[in-house]
């Protein structure tokens, strides 16, 4: 089996899926199932606090099989290191309560700008260091900058997760060369260090591209949840993970500027004059 490790975890599915933006919990559950993911992300937010006797809204925790999935809490929406650390600690407390094995890890996001939702590199590094001090296994969302990626790995991140494109844009892998450089830098002398491409995926081919470049996995949410048929798209993403992974393992041919014939040039019938 083609398994890989992230920190203390071992997985065979290379697709991480988010749980946001689904129209209904039923649709979400069906899409999670179809994606074949083992890891699903959730966010920490204020409870809606219905007073005693009032009708409570359904909780997402009623719709995720806690025994099947490893929950990865995120710090989405945090714009400084301090808030991200607070969110991570709250998430850990919640998951411990649920008895889910994902309680000690976190998908760290420290965002720098509300329009692009691009990461704040300084805050991201600060929060990574602090969370590691607090005993977390940190999967850190970052720009596709190989130098910063290396700094985050050196700080002790369990996985570095460069963005393919800004969150929710569906623009795909905008800078393949940077993702390739991130992979090369992070895996230099440490080929099993897990690198997950996170964010920006629009459709199945984007997932395949990330995997063909040698990523260990892809994390996405909107690409599935926002599709016209999320369950079908979840299946497509699962296939793309397989296709991209196999292609990476198989080793692609070199790119060449001119044609080379696939059929023999010998034994041709006499050419018309």
């Amino acid at each position: 089996m083609d398994t890989y490790r992230i920190g203390s975890f071992s997985f065979s599915s290379r697709l991480f899926v988010g749980t946001g933006k689904y129209v209904t919990f039923e649709q979400m559950s069906a899409a999670l199932d179809a994606s074949e993911a083992e890891v699903v992300t959730v966010a920490v937010r204020r409870d809606c606090l219905t007073e005693a006797g009032g009708a409570r809204e359904d909780s997402i925790l009623d719709h995720i099989d806690m025994d099947r999935f490893t929950i990865l809490p995120n710090t989405a929406g945090c714009f400084n290191a301090k808030d991200a650390v607070r969110a991570a600690r709250l998430g850990r407390e919640l998951l411990e309560g649920q008895g889910n094995k994902g309680f000690n890890w976190v998908k760290l996001e420290v965002l720098g700008d509300r329009k692009t939702l691009l990461p704040d590199p300084i805050g991201t590094l600060e929060a990574t260091e602090k969370l590691i001090e607090l005993g977390f296994e940190v999967l850190v969302y970052t720009n596709d900058d190989p130098i910063l990626a290396k700094r985050l790995k050196d700080a002790g991140a369990a996985s570095v997760m460069p963005a393919g494109a800004p969150i929710g844009t569906g623009l795909g892998i905008l800078n393949r060369n940077n993702i390739r450089l991130c992979l090369e830098t992070l895996k230099d002398g440490d080929p099993d260090f897990p690198v997950i491409v996170d964010a920006g995926v629009g459709t199945a081919s984007d997932v395949a591209v990330a995997m063909e470049l040698g990523a260990d996995g892809v994390l996405l949410n909107t690409g599935i949840a926002g599709a016209n048929d999320p369950v079908r798209m979840a299946k497509a993403m699962a296939h793309a993970i397989q296709a991209g992974r196999l292609a990476y393992q198989a080793g692609r041919i070199a790119r060449k500027p001119y044609a080379t014939a696939s059929s023999p040039m010998e034994g041709l019938i006499e050419a018309t004059t």
């Binding site: 988010g18 920490v44 937010r45 007073e51 997402i60 969150i167």
Partner: protein, 66 residues
């Protein structure tokens, strides 16, 4: 006493713990995580953590996210 719960002012009476506050909202403690004045309150201490006037309390749970 006046406190702030999830950004809203709220009047509480008597000696009230975090556990009591969650009861008011019919929230199961295992489904909530709590901060008071930006400090995490571990679940094990919910029942012996007393809320004080002016406390800013955050009660959070999980929602869908990516």
């Amino acid at each position: 006493m006046q406190v702030i719960v999830n950004g809203k002012e709220r009047e509480l009476t008597g000696n009230i713990s975090v556990s009591d506050l969650l009861d008011l909202y019919e929230l199961e403690p295992i489904r909530a995580a709590v901060e008071i004045n930006e400090e995490l309150v571990p679940r094990a201490t919910f029942s012996n953590t007393t809320i004080k006037p002016g406390d800013r309390i955050e009660i959070v749970t999980f929602v869908g996210g990516g």
